[in-house]
Symmetry: C2
Subunit: 207 residues, 2 copies
């Protein structure tokens, strides 16, 4: 797919939001939708949605809208989540534990397969279905398993060091829960899940 | 501040990221920075950063860059997080518990003050420093406390109903951990913290 070089990141970032809405409609038994309906649900203009989707092909018909099952399958393929990606969690504090037991990855393209911590009191303990492994062997363990995606739940002070180790292990995508910006080499992507950032974005608009 | 009507949402959304980087630099004892240094750290162009900040005033000097303490204080003021906003958490599953004990809100402008659930087995139990309250009284309790911001950690199937109640209680900003898009009236903002969305945004770029 050479096409992907040309798609702006901002468009790619909206596709998972469309996918989630389509999945919800499908679960409700709905068969077709329109850019208008999607737009109203998501607070995005119908024109923007049509423009975004047109980057990847012709998915709807004038007047009849989108077939939900078809568009859902296509977006999963485009986002490469028609497969299931293995995830590692590093840092088994409250957030790591919550993610280890999180049921929301099902049908979204991901599953947790291993969890790590550096605390001797936690190593060997259970977290949900997983035995907590030691970070001492993490680079080798992740590399052997061929895991490309990790969720980083360590304290801010440890985050950059652990992220460097993940890169060494071959990880190409990090979902970062530590409240700190990571310096990563080219080819490694980071998404941030820092609740304070989301809260601050809204506080600006409050009276 | 009538100016805020004119600032695009995309610019506002970057300010908390700048603020976090400045806080980190300040904690490290650094006194000045530049749009170049901020840009390299954040993966945003220096020109974009200068343009974003110029929307709000003159914060730096050609050649000498930005005074970190000054810019940090100004951004906190612009984002209205120089004060401390009270937060309510609804849904005391793993994620709710993790947030109730999360230490990362300190110095970011927020503090949790009450937590709710609808499970009789959980109501009255402790979650971190908080006694879990019943959602049955939630609307009145939140309204009386004047809380404007809530974190929604209930299952997807319950999210819209609980969000409607939060709006009824006077909440104007919801940080939504449920993997579902909410329909909210004008004047109520939602930010989504759905780990699958972050993961899917990165999966697109993986081989």
């Amino acid at each position: 797919m050479t096409i992907k070089q040309e798609i702006p990141d901002i468009i790619v970032s909206r596709l998972p939001v469309y996918l989630r809405a389509l999945q919800h409609m499908q679960n409700q038994g709905q068969q077709t939708t329109s850019s208008q309906e999607l737009g109203e649900r998501l607070g995005i203009s119908a024109a923007q949605i049509r423009k975004d989707l047109s980057q990847f092909g012709e998915f709807g018909k004038q007047g009849t809208g989108y077939n939900i099952a078809f568009l859902y399958a296509k977006l999963r393929e485009i986002l490469k989540v028609e497969r299931v990606w293995d995830l590692a969690i590093v840092g088994m504090g409250d957030m790591g534990h919550a993610l280890a037991r999180y049921s929301g990855f099902k049908d979204r393209g991901f599953r947790v397969v291993m969890v790590f911590d550096n605390d001797p009191a936690k190593i060997g303990q259970q977290a949900g279905a997983f035995t907590i492994l030691t970070v001492a062997d993490m680079v080798e363990t992740i590399r052997k398993a061929g895991i490309k995606i990790a969720m980083l739940c360590v304290p801010a002070s440890a985050a950059q060091g652990v992220a460097n180790k993940l890169v060494e292990a071959g990880v190409k995508a990090i979902l970062n829960y530590a409240p700190i910006s990571l310096n990563m080499p080219k080819g490694v992507r980071v998404q941030y899940l820092d609740p304070s950032i989301g809260l601050q974005r809204m506080a600006y608009y409050l009276d």
